[in-house]
Amino acid sequence: MADDIRALTAELARDPDSLAFLELGETLRARGRVDAAATVARTGLERHPQDPEGHDLYARILADAGNPEAARETWEVVLTLAPRHPGALKGLAYLAYRAGDPVGALELLETALSVDPSDPSVVQALQTVRIAIERMEADAEVRTGADIFAGFEGAEYGLLLVDAQGLILGGVLRDGQGRDVAQEVAAYAAGAAAEAQRAVRLLELGEWRGLVAEAPEGHLHVSAPAPGTVLLVKRERAVPPARLALAAQRAGTAARAWLEAQRG
């Protein structure tokens, strides 16, 4: 047994009501002796049930022992005893972050920082959490599909990516009056793509590459940039079908990159 542990144990034996259990428990925890630390903390709490530091120590031990739920409950007890306890705030923030809730963690850490603005551990944790939130927001933006075709000609009115069931993955489709018609067209486009695939299979024409509809007010191009997806491109009549196919090809490349990013 290390000297410091031996000394603290002796001190606690001499005076069981002393707060030496806090230092002993923390020392044992820091050395990975979680079970011994838990025993010391529990014994100390029996004598000091209203001591927030004792509960904070026990919560840290529980977190180390892989029991986040019990740790959270214990830190909540700390906050009922000391509502702005920095240890409990940091501990709960850590649990929130680990549970995938960086926004919740941020709020707790900002409260902790207001208690002690110079606490380097809080400053460091805040930085980590803010990066996680930025990443999460960027991912959410990607998930909505808003940026799949950003910068592409027609991205504001005539590029739509849907899945094989006709559900929108991203993009925008508007009619001549600027009305959003994506939902309705998504179903038709997916249906047409499915029929196209069946037809070429039946005729043994290999893979289908595209489906073009030339109409009086414009053209549509339907393709499958990746398995299970359908891309619809709408352009005005002045755009020749061959150029429409090129636009669809480029949009298809962007769609594949977006889908790849989704999988990653």
Partner: protein, 116 residues
Amino acid sequence: MSAALARALDRVTRVRGVRGAMLVAATDGLVIAEAAMEGVRTNAVAALTASLATRLGRAARVTGVGPPAFVHLDAEQGAVLAVPAGTDLLLVTIADASVNVGLARLEMLRVVEEVG
């Protein structure tokens, strides 16, 4: 099939690369007339093409571009082309990869003008 219709379909099949042509009911995909469709399951292809054209037509109307005047299904080894003939019919052409789509399109539009 009338002699005039037979001649019209025959003209389409003379375009290089065209394997066959048929006139199909747009609503139910039934074959009305056909020419040079050997080795092709015409009924199934007709039904699929009619269904495909219907869905694409709905998409085109909703997007505001209007009813399609020409539909081109492009595949690795060929193509399926469709042109509406009147309100209820579709002229469908099956072609291999060597087809000149522009030429086939022109001939199909001529035929539709005659039979429509």
